[in-house]
Amino acid sequence: MANVPAELRYTREHEWAKAEGGRVRVGITAYAQEQLGDVVFVELPKTGAKLTHMQGFGVVESVKAVSDLFAPLDGAVAEVNEALRQAPELVNQDPYGKGWMIVITPSQPAQLDTLMTAKEYEAFVAGGGH
């Protein structure tokens, strides 16, 4: 079973979300990067872009697959991980750390509580993950 940190929240599309003060950091899970295989390209929005809960905000591509990224909550993009432009492999190497994708300034912070807990996400993945 892939690593599922207890302190994070999760979407059914395999993004993780982490509360950091008033903001929320977002990436894809260890399980997601494993399923994708070697990530060779990440397309992310610009700082300031508006996000809508469970609408696409970017794309992650492995050698074989193209996969959409979904916003875990409403808000605006506060930060973008520019390092992924030159080093998309960080998503594989450190999905919960250096492989983060964006930081969101949420407009509905309470939406975070509607996301899956680590336990719920583990069960979701064990059940097939879709």
Binding site: G37, D38, V40, F41, E43, V59, E61, S62, V63, K64, V66, R85, E89
Partner: protein, 368 residues
């Protein structure tokens, strides 16, 4: 209902090795073991072991074998010596490509054809229905396993396990011998751009041979390589893949395969249609391009020039050895020159690309 997926004799070995198995052309095949990029680099730097037993093999024998192959294939079988391999095509009367294949001359009137896995049934019907009478065909696909050993250290590894004189075997030549005690047809061919061998053995010997190579090749850095890296390796060579880059709607000339079409040898299926295209000039050409903008081209994406659709991407990916996003596709002939500026439509957005010289990565096959 679709038919159940077929498995090679190495299926259990792949699963035990932790391979990710995927459907490919009707077969359940390993797409990756350790990871596509790592496997790709293993082949470029050391030596990789591939199970390509899903490929099909036909044998044709008899006094009419040469005649029937001359009718069925576009290349000149008469120019093929015993012990030599030839890349060739099966075409339909309209000049569309039924399959690409390699032809082995086993004897004066004995040949083996290696065809694509997804086309085994189609090709079998094609050759037995359209071939000349008097040649005896045998489909030996299921009793034959095929391992590819590819990379700069392939020669040393195969030489260690084989009783045949591997080092003097030239590119696109083959020899019969024993490898780890198993009767093998050793062919100096491949689909990676590296030196290497394709080893044909009886299906029952495949698993033992596979383990022997992994075991004896450990010091050389051998690793199993899946279809994912096989695809990126061949893409960097701009080698075409049937079903992606060529099919019944493409003709050999536009695909850049005119070098295996030999009209001077006499009549063959598709000759008139292909010669008509040659006389008129091809409308489109298969080109290699690299992305100028950051984006990954994929099969089926539209190619644009000045906002106008001018072609389609047939294969595209990240090229691990050149660290660029690359692709191949058909474009109008006027736009096919090196340096030609194109755009690839990626999720509705045109992304700049440029036609480049191919192969994308220099080939290291033994051209002697």
């Amino acid at each position: 209902m679709s038919e159940p997926l077929r498995r090679t004799p190495l299926y259990a070995a792949h699963v035990a090795a932790g391979a990710r198995m995927v459907p490919f052309g009707g077969w359940e095949m390993p797409v990756q073991y350790a990871g596509i990029l790592e496997e790709h680099r293993t082949v470029r730097r050391a030596v990789g072991l591939f199970d390509v037993s899903h490929m099909g093999e036909f044998e044709v024998t008899g006094a009419r074998a040469v005649a029937t192959l001359q009718t069925l294939t576009t290349n000149d079988v008469a120019a093929l010596e015993v012990g030599q391999v030839q890349y060739s095509l099966l075409c339909d009367p309209a000049g569309g490509i039924v399959d690409d294949l390699t032809v082995y001359r086993l004897g004066g009137d004995r040949f083996m054809l290696t065809v694509n896995a997804s086309n085994i049934d189609t090709d079998w019907r094609w050759v037995t229905e359209h071939g000349e009478s008097g040649a005896l065909w045998r489909n030996i696909s299921s009793e034959t396993a095929l391992l590819a050993v590819q990379g700069p250290r392939a020669e040393a590894l195969v030489a260690e396990l084989a009783d045949a004189d591997v080092k003097s075997l030239r590119y696109y030549h083959f020899a019969a011998g024993a490898v780890a005690g198993a009767r093998t047809l050793l062919s100096r061919t491949g689909y990676t751009g590296e030196d290497g061998f394709e080893l044909y053995v009886a299906a029952g010997e495949a698993e033992r041979l596979w383990r022997e190579f992994l075991d004896r090749g450990r010091a050389a850095g051998v690793a199993p390589v899946g279809l994912g890296a096989r695809d990126t390796l061949r893409l960097e060579m701009r080698d075409v893949l049937y079903g992606n880059d060529i099919d019944g709607t493409t003709n050999p000339l536009e695909a850049g395969l005119g070098w295996v079409v030999k009209p001077a040898k006499g009549d063959f299926i598709g000759r008139d249609a292909i010669e008509k295209v040659r006389a008129a000039g091809v409308r489109r050409k298969l080109v290699g391009f690299e992305m100028v903008d950051r984006a990954v081209p994929r099969h089926g994406y539209r190619i644009l020039a000045d906002g106008r659709p001018v072609g389609v991407v047939t294969s595209g990916s990240y090229g691990p050895s050149i660290d660029k996003y690359i692709g191949i596709g058909y474009v109008e002939t006027a736009l096919a020159g090196v340096g030609s500026e194109l755009a690839i439509e990626v999720r509705g957005v045109p992304q700049a690309a440029r036609v480049v010289k191919t192969p994308f990565h220099p080939s290291h096959v033994k051209q002697r």
